[in-house]
């Protein structure tokens, strides 16, 4: 079973990202589950969301403490939160930042998702962009399934734009 943790701020769509990833895995023929960290956070506050992916039906209902992957949607979170908490040794972490960051002991990937989002979507909403990067980095889901999952999460036009944004990020990170 693969476990992924998303870090974001309330309103940035971390929960939606976790759900889209779960959908994408399902379209790949796998079983999946996604859930938010059940907090009391409001818009702007740090939030977490989780995805589990497995080849068999997922029955586990506890929270995720030792993820295989971590996704960080907002670089400012790095200052206040231990984003690598519990991350498995050598685990991959994908961070939205325009800086070159390396986190000791982990496979760190960076992408300026805000820039991509502004360019493709015209909005600084990074959740689909960073999912594209995550897909490129990990290969845990296929880019086609990710795009499909994005398309059926948003209304038609918005879905197309977001799928495009994910693909741009996917290609960018692949080329690195």
């Amino acid at each position: 079973m693969i476990e992924i943790r998303f870090h974001g701020r309330g309103g940035q769509g971390a929960v939606t990202a976790a759900q889209i990833l779960a959908k994408a895995a399902f379209y790949d023929g796998k079983f999946s589950q996604a859930f938010p960290f059940f907090g009391v956070e409001r818009r702007g506050a740090p939030v977490m969301a989780f995805t589990r992916i497995d080849d068999k039906k997922i029955r586990l209902r506890s929270q995720i403490y030792e993820p295989d992957y971590v996704v960080v949607q907002d670089p400012t979170l790095l200052d206040t939160i231990d984003v690598t908490s519990g991350l498995k040794k050598g685990g991959k972490i994908v961070i939205n930042t325009n800086k070159d960051i390396k986190l000791e002991g982990y496979d760190t990937y960076t992408i300026d998702a805000t820039d991509v989002a502004l360019e493709v979507l015209g909005l600084p909403i990074v959740n689909t962009v960073i999912l594209g990067a995550f897909t490129g980095v990990t290969g845990e889901v296929t880019i086609d399934s990710l795009k499909k999952a994005i398309m059926d999460t948003f209304p038609k036009k918005l879905g197309e734009k977001n799928a495009k944004a994910a693909e741009v990020a996917y290609n960018m990170i692949k080329e690195e």
Partner: protein, 387 residues
Amino acid sequence: MSKVKIITGTSAAAEAARLCDVDVISAYPITPQTTCVEKLAEFVANGELDAEFIKVESEHSAISACIGASATGARTFTATSSQGLALMHEVLFIASGMRLPIVMMNANRALSAPINIWNDQQDSISQRDTGWIQIYAADNQETLDSIIQAFKIAENEKVLLPVMVNLDGFILTHTVEPVELPDEEEVRDFVGIYEPKHAYLDPDRPITQGPVGVPSCYMESKYNVQNAMNNAEKVIMDVNEEFAKKFGRKYGNGLIETYNIENAETVLVAMGSVCGTIKEVIDDLKQEGKEYGLLRIRTYRPLPINHIREALKNAKNIAILDKDITFGMNKGAVYTDLAGFLKDKKTTNYIVGLGGRDIRQDDIKEIMKHAEKAEDGETKWMGLKEQ
């Protein structure tokens, strides 16, 4: 055509109500149920469900309007959680006493104070004696399937009791996972149309519903409810079978579900989503050559006493998990219910997951180990921090 969607538990509940073509919905928002009524409001607003949605000003009015609607002959659905369910309390007795087959989704959440929006089962457990059938779902698929079954159970002429389908707050309500949505036509064929013979208000048949139950009739009236509960046991099993035949899924015998119980001396008894985690642990330990079993109580009311006793007949150590507490007794309600008819067994009670305290696999392992050795019968509060 059935189709699989990745949806939350509350969406699954809303989808079930839509598939059952409910006539009247009356509900009030409360975390973590809210997304269910939002979804239903959306269905009605988009014409995907032809129903009247009464946007009441409280849960008390929600269930009261449900009674009015059901007593007029409409298929009626509501949803709530925690404080909302507690606010409904007095009216819940009235729904069962009037024999109205209302179906409710309850998102299990802790009760104040301190205020807490997270999961435990104190809310529905506290409504144990209201005469409602109580089903506890273990995942989102079961939530959807149970609500469909609930209408068929509730509206059965031998039953005619309201049904509460419980799902763990956040753990299921806010988790997305694959859920198969059965074909609408097939569901409607399965549940049929609600055509009450006993209770409906019609000027051409002026009946009096909810009269004064004088001492000469009150006991009989309540005995009727108990009889209906007795009948419900078989009806729930039959509906579970019938559902399996039509839709290919079943939940134990409808009343209880067992897992690896035949190989195990130590058996855990639990309700709701934690059973998934327990199964996972059982499978892990099996690989290490250790055998543990699970008895999941799916139907808490009627409590299937004979089925539980039979399932546990070979168990040596019985660990009963409660997401609730009976203050002043230091036991959970499930434990106190079961202890009465498992007198010859060694039973230990574990209070778990109150107010959203996560139940980890390690907690389950600890319970298993503890139950094997426990002698004193003391209740153990799992994960309690030192004060």
